[in-house]
């Protein structure tokens, strides 16, 4: 280009620049300079202003002109500029499309890759069509650097135009890249496929035996990031059987030695997920593996604190799932003086998980030491940990209490308060055992100024009122400030006063009257008023009954504050190393879904409801016909066994029949409601469940009756239930589980509340994945002790209900899965059939049913480790047979 033209250009533009644009103008001049170094410096200056937020988009064409150069440094700088505007001003970037297309044919692979990489970042529909051609070429480029860039670019394109990716066959090409000779290309192809799989919800990865071998081979060659991508995709794959799982584990185990903690964590994830599949027959192999897992996990604790934190959150999951792995390593979780607070808190949590009778003395010494540190929250957590150890280890409880008493002597305000709170828990766990320390606690009444500590202390006074000489005086001092107290304290105060009254009626008559007045008349808090009224009525009608209710035995508590629900835990183990494992929440709980799909989901729900309603209409008639539904070959759909649970006399004119069943994987409480004499038509109900043996709670508290049920009419309603550990009622050991689920219903029309109990049929809890391998079944069957066997006979069955084929089909509808059948040797016409069931709470049941030709009866033999639930499972089988 002749020099003259450059300068004339510059001269021309001088006419158009105002004074304000002086700086930009100067830059523009420099961009058009002939000297290379000046140009380079100019582009650098442009980028500099860009990064501090100045608008240099007016120089776009000038910068773009510089791209026509053989100088790579300059070219890269121009692309640095372009890539920034590709994000914010895509329209401008369209001007550069020709440059991109041209550069994607450049002889230098760096430039080819640069062009493809930059084009992928421009989120404009119009550009995608230009992109396809160069991308297709880049995916088959001879240079691996270009291919690896192109692989990521497919993921970018999928984000803008998924259809285009499918249309152009890029997914197949990507899949071919898994067998690429260059490990970085393999890694990026795997990363891109995983991302597309997640975005589309389809299995685009399609791991076959051949692909698996390639992935495992690439694992040894890749960079650390490639290894992570491959391991993460392996973790999502389900091996065909135990042997394959073991084979993969063997190839993955050397990764545990890797210096990169991400590789180690991903390898741990693969191994733990696959271990599940190895089956109990491989207990030796599993034990050997758990031994191998401990050192790398411990080594993670020597990394930077940030890694330690993530590692500790994961170890928390691992020790819940497989406590043996780290049972001898508790010392490494002791806090260091200079650990950041977030690491210390996580370490404490793990110490409590690992504490045992063997190491309790060491742990107590350590926790006591922590209680003198400066950080208040850490100290509190350490004190509360001492109490949790006591609740967890019966034999060490006394020692723990000793330490707590020592701490109370220090008179440090927050230490005392925290101690009182945990001592209450210890009293709950071991009633009537350690009351001797109450005196010490009472000495510290004045220091308690936090609601929870006050409430705990008041609870203790009420519970042990008969052993504290001046219990009524103590309560009286609290009562003086009743109105200013926190609601939690008020509730405790109310209960404690009533307890005190029941134990010592003479001296406390006035006091109980005063507190009942305060609760029912002065307070605006509905909980407090309700509780006040209940006590009042109880006391006025039947003091003996009141005694039984208020002073009754309380269920035993456990240290399970931070224990995760087994099904959640299992799913989190599959998420090790991810954010999900750090938050201890499933991914759906925090990942923001993209707009698509949500609307669809809503529609689906509606459909389901409609379908449900139709079904219920037909249900009435079918009930009488019995097992007729079985013969049509389709999947049997279980009905909820409906029983009358409440009559009109208790519920202000509403009769309810209720039962449980599972439909499409959700547990439902179904109710037939007859409005016998309620004045208003029933249009909506609110429901609440009491804690129960199954952890059931309603997914939504509102039930809408559509159409409303007028007086004299009837209708049905269903509510979806979910299982949450917090709703699990504590169970005394050795007792069978209580099958009752207590329900409270509020009729929204009248505001009337009524209560009833429904017997839970366990089959509603059977999960859809309850089937197991035949070999695993045999192993499990053998491993369960004979004492945990339960026998029974179901007789007087209709003939159609003892046909084995139809029983198998019917049971499948109940998620009770057929394993095997065989004739009984030496017994003509007898046959045994085996079934397996697993509840959504992960309890396994194995059943053996014996049928004899011509006999309308079946013998049941049931095996399970969960003896408490065995009678319920047996009852469920019986009703399933009769259905």
């Amino acid at each position: 280009m002749p020099k003259g033209k450059d300068s004339s250009n510059a001269n021309d533009s001088r006419f158009f620049t105002t004074q304000k644009k002086g700086e930009l103008h100067e830059l523009r001049m420099e961009l058009h300079a002939t000297e290379k170094q000046v140009k380079v410096d100019a582009v650098k200056k442009v980028i500099a202003s860009m990064t501090v937020g100045k608008d240099v988009s007016s120089l776009f064409t000038d910068v773009l002109n510089c791209v026509q150069t053989g100088n790579i440094e300059l070219k890269k700088l121009v692309y640095l500029y372009l890539i920034n505007y590709a994000k914010t001003q895509p329209e401008l970037t369209l001007l550069a499309v020709n440059t991109f297309v041209k550069d994607s044919n450049d002889p230098n692979p760096l430039i080819r890759a640069l062009a493809v990489r930059t084009m992928g970042c421009i989120r404009v529909d119009r550009i995608t069509e230009y992109l396809c051609e160069p991308l297709g070429r880049a995916l088959r480029d001879e240079d691996p650097y270009v291919r690896k860039t192109a692989a990521v670019c497919v993921a970018k394109l999928y984000d803008i135009a998924p259809d285009l990716v499918a249309e152009r066959g890029f997914l197949e090409t990507l899949h071919d890249l898994i067998s690429d000779s260059n490990p970085s290309v393999v890694a990026n192809a795997v990363a891109a496929l995983s991302e597309i799989a997640e975005a589309s919800g389809k299995d685009v990865m399609k791991i076959s035996a051949a692909v698996l071998q390639k992935l495992l081979a690439a694992l040894n060659e890749c960079t650390e990031w490639g290894q992570v991508f491959i391991l993460d995709s392996l973790a999502k794959y389900t091996p065909a059987d135990g042997r394959e799982a073991e084979g993969i584990i063997e190839r993955v185990t050397p990764r545990l030695q890797h210096a990169n903690s991400a590789v180690v964590m991903s390898a741990v994830k693969v191994i733990l997920s696959y271990m599940e599949l190895m089956g109990s027959s491989n207990s030796d192999a599993i034990r050997a593996l758990t031994r191998k897992l401990a050192p790398p996990l411990v080594t993670l604790l020597n990394s930077e604190p940030e890694i330690q934190y993530v590692a500790l959150r994961n170890i928390n999951l691992i020790v819940q799932k497989r406590p043996h792995i780290l049972e001898n390593e508790i010392k490494v979780f002791f806090c260091k003086y200079n650990d950041p607070i977030y690491v210390k808190m996580e370490k404490l949590e793990i110490i409590i998980k690992l504490v045992s009778e063997k190491n309790i003395d060491q742990v107590l010494l350590e926790l006591k030491e922590y209680s003198t540190e400066v950080d208040v929250d850490f100290v509190r957590k350490a004190v509360s940990a001492i109490g949790r150890c006591a609740v967890k280890l019966e034999r060490a409880a006394e020692r723990c209490i000793g330490v707590l008493l020592e701490l109370i002597q220090t008179k440090v305000n927050y230490v005392v308060q925290e101690s009182v709170i945990v001592i209450k828990d210890i009293f709950r766990r071991y009633p009537n055992r350690y009351e001797s320390i109450i005196a010490t606690l009472c000495d510290n009444l004045d220091t308690l100024d936090e609601p929870l500590a006050r409430a705990s202390m008041i609870w203790i006074i009420g519970e042990y009122a008969e052993r504290i000489d001046n219990a009524d005086e103590l309560l009286d001092t609290f009562l003086e400030t009743f109105e200013e107290e926190d609601p939690a304290v008020q509730l405790q105060l109310l209960t404690a006063t009533v307890k005190c009254f029941l134990k010592n009626p003479e001296d406390t008559q006035d006091m109980v009257q005063r507190v009942l007045d305060l609760a029912t008349e002065e307070s605006d808090n509905p909980d407090l008023r309700d509780r006040g009224f209940i006590y009042w009525r109880l006391l006025s009608t039947d003091p003996e009954a009141a005694k039984m209710v208020v002073l009754g035995d309380k269920p035993v508590i456990e240290d399970d504050i931070f224990k995760l629900d087994p099904s959640l835990l299992n799913s989190l183990i599959g998420q090790i190393a991810t954010l999900s494992s750090v938050y201890h929440k499933p991914p759906d709980a925090f990942v923001v879904r993209r707009a698509a799909g949500t609307g669809l989901g809503g529609d689906e729900d509606d459909d389901e409801d409609d379908y449900e309603a139709e079904n219920d209409v037909g249900g009435e008639d079918l009930l009488d016909i019995g097992g007729m539904g079985i013969s049509d070959g389709g999947l049997y759909e279980p009905k909820a066994p409906m029983n009358k649970v409440v009559g009109p006399e208790k519920s202000n004119g509403i009769e309810v029949h209720a039962g449980f069943r599972q439909l499409n994987g959700t547990i439902r409480l179904e109710m037939d409601i007859q409005n016998i004499s309620s004045q208003a038509s029933v249009h909506g109900l609110a429901i609440q469940l009491n804690k129960n043996s199954f952890g059931l709670s309603p997914a939504s508290q509102q039930i809408v009756c559509n159409p409303p049920i007028p007086t004299g009419g009837s209708g049905s309603a269903a509510v979806e239930l979910v299982v949450t550990p917090s709703m699990l009622a504590p169970m005394p050991p050795g007792q069978p589980a209580n099958p009752q689920v207590q329900v409270a219903i509020k009729n929204m029309a009248t505001g009337n509340v009524f209560y009833f109990a429904v017997i839970f049929n366990l089959d509603a809890l059977f999960s859809q994945d309850g089937t197991m391998e035949r070999s695993a079944f045999i192993e499990t069957w053998k491993s369960i002790d004979d004492r945990n066997e339960l026998y029974g006979t179901v007789s007087d069955l209709p003939p159609s209900n003892v046909d084995i084929e139809s029983v198998i089909n019917k049971f499948k509808g109940y998620n009770c899965f057929f394993i095997a059948r065989r004739p009984v040797p030496n017994a003509e016409g007898q046959e045994v059939v085996y079934f397996s069931m697993r509840t959504v709470t992960n309890m396994e049941f194995l059943a053996e049913l014996t049928f004899k030709q011509g006999v309308n009866a079946t013998k049941i033999c049931l095996k399970t480790e969960k003896a408490a639930y065995a009678p319920l499972a047996k009852a469920a089988l019986e009703s399933m047979l009769r259905a």
């Binding site: 890797h258 934190y309 959150r313 490494v332 260091k336 977030y342 950080d375 609601p451 954010l579 993209r594």
Partner: protein, 476 residues
């Protein structure tokens, strides 16, 4: 993977920001600067109410609502912000390397990635400081483009990156913020502040071995000790975190052979023969070839350019602690405490502890404390004084030779009568030190050779052993 990447200065200014994904339709929505500002405020004023990273309320949170302690602790490295994105960050030299992610990404990978980016930045700039980053930002953006594509980590090895990066680093004079601590003999390899120089010149042609570059390799055998003593001098807990790290400036990337002790035993359970070196666990860098490790305890590798860790090892339990601490507290009268601390150096006489400092926290109600050091000869300058602003006695010794001991007596007068609680506020004693040319585990480099004989290739090899305190604490 990650949606953006940013580096924030200690004051919260965005120094480097790069965006990889948009999640809102029609605009930059989710990752504007205002979001990194919100993020910075969050970690700056992290209150303990948020200790559960998922943001859920736990029972312990509620109990605190009554008496809220306005305290700011370190924010955990992973948490969720109200914009629905998870933010991950690491702190290096006061700078915050962070990023946001919208999906359920691998947290470990990202934290690792952030540390790696910080390390590569340091390799290229020579030092990691706000000024160095600001001066070199074009180079760093270029590096970032190669290291991350669409939020996925790509090339992160300094040596591989050299082939695709064109900008030259601008060296920043290191204003000795750390130099006052560093004794030349204990300076670790990572204190060599020399940027890696791009191997391609402006014409895009590779320049082979740079003539004016000195062939040097720095090898550190670095051990950090975590030791906890009880008040009567027993060791309660002790571990060594060790590593061999290198910084290579060798031209032509020759293959190296590094030999360790022949009697090195790995694994806790096997009891070694007397005098053997025993470590619990060891892990190696990717580039290390372990073919001869089992038989001869020899590693071969081509050292990647820049700083890297060859191997990490860990040792728990029995080893000879280099320093013993013997404290005693005496209540002279109700308001006066006399505290005596004896420190004995137990390593061989030809070694010494350097920059030894002893911290002793005192009760809040301390009026004044008089310290008096009784030193044995040859120990050099020592000083002990009560630092009121930090509420503790700081006792420093330039040098503490092996086999000697020092005693410090402090007379502490309190503003109120001493109770058990006040006594508990004394301590724990924290010891910081470095021991040059000495390591506790006895792990040694037998030799470091260049594998194939390259004629006339005589690199400078700097092999150093350094023992440092990580957490060296004595309870009272």
């Amino acid at each position: 993977m990650i949606s953006n990447f940013f580096v924030l200065s200690p004051r919260g200014d965005t120094i480097i920001a790069k965006q990889y994904r948009n999640y809102r339709e029609g605009g930059t929505g989710a990752h504007e600067r205002s979001h990194t500002e919100a993020f910075f405020r969050k970690i700056k004023f992290w209150d303990e109410m948020n200790l559960t990273p998922g943001g859920e309320e736990t029972s312990s949170d509620q109990q605190k609502s009554g008496e809220k302690q306005q305290k700011t602790g370190d924010a955990p490295p992973v948490f969720m912000m109200p914009d629905g994105l998870s933010y991950l960050h690491v702190k290096r030299n006061g700078l915050i390397f962070g990023c946001a992610a919208a999906s359920n990404v691998s947290a470990v990978t990202i934290i690792d990635l952030l540390s790696t980016v910080a390390r590569v930045f340091k390799d290229y700039c020579g030092t990691l400081s706000e000024e160095a980053i600001r001066k070199n930002f074009i180079l760093l953006y270029e590096l970032l483009d190669e290291m991350l594509d669409y939020g996925y980590p790509q090339i992160t090895r300094t040596s591989t990156l050299k082939s695709c990066v064109y900008n030259e680093p601008i060296v920043v004079e290191n204003i000795g913020s750390t130099s006052n601590m560093i004794n030349p003999k204990t300076a670790s390899a990572n204190s060599v502040h020399k940027p890696v120089i791009s191997s391609v010149n402006a014409n895009g042609r590779k320049t082979d071995s740079n003539a004016n570059q000195k062939n040097e390799i720095f090898v550190d055998i670095l051990e950090r000790l975590n030791v906890l003593f009880s008040a009567n001098g027993y060791v309660l807990n002790s571990t060594i975190d060790g590593c061999i790290q290198m910084k290579s400036y060798l031209a032509g990337n020759p293959e190296l052979r590094l030999a360790l002790n022949e009697d090195l035993i790995i694994g806790k359970k096997e009891s070694g023969t007397y005098g053997s070196v025993n470590v619990d666990d060891i892990n190696f860098n990717d580039c290390v070839n372990l073919n001869e490790f089992e038989s001869a305890r020899t590693l071969t590798f081509v050292p990647p350019e820049g700083e890297f860790v060859v191997l990490n090892y860990r040792l728990t339990g029995d080893f000879n602690t280099p320093f013993r601490i013997f404290p005693s507290i005496e209540e002279v009268d109700s308001k006066t405490l006399e505290i005596t601390i004896l420190i004995r150096a137990e390593m061989p006489q030809n070694h010494f502890g350097a920059n030894v400092s002893v911290e002793l926290p005192l009760p809040k109600c301390t009026n004044v404390a008089h310290c008096n050091v009784i030193s044995s000869p040859g120990t050099g300058y020592t000083n002990a004084e009560f630092v009121r602003s930090e509420g503790k006695i700081l006792w420093t010794m330039k040098k503490l030779p092996g086999g000697t001991e020092q005693t410090m007596k402090a007379k502490v007068s309190l503003s109120q009568a001493c109770t058990t609680q006040i006594r508990r506020e004394v301590g724990p004693i924290n010891l910081n030190f470095e021991i040059p040319m000495y390591n506790v585990s006895k792990l040694q480099v037998r030799y470091l050779r260049i594998a194939e004989s390259m004629a006339g290739y005589t690199p400078y090899r700097w092999v150093r052993y350094v023992t440092q305190s990580n957490s060296y604490v004595c309870r009272l």
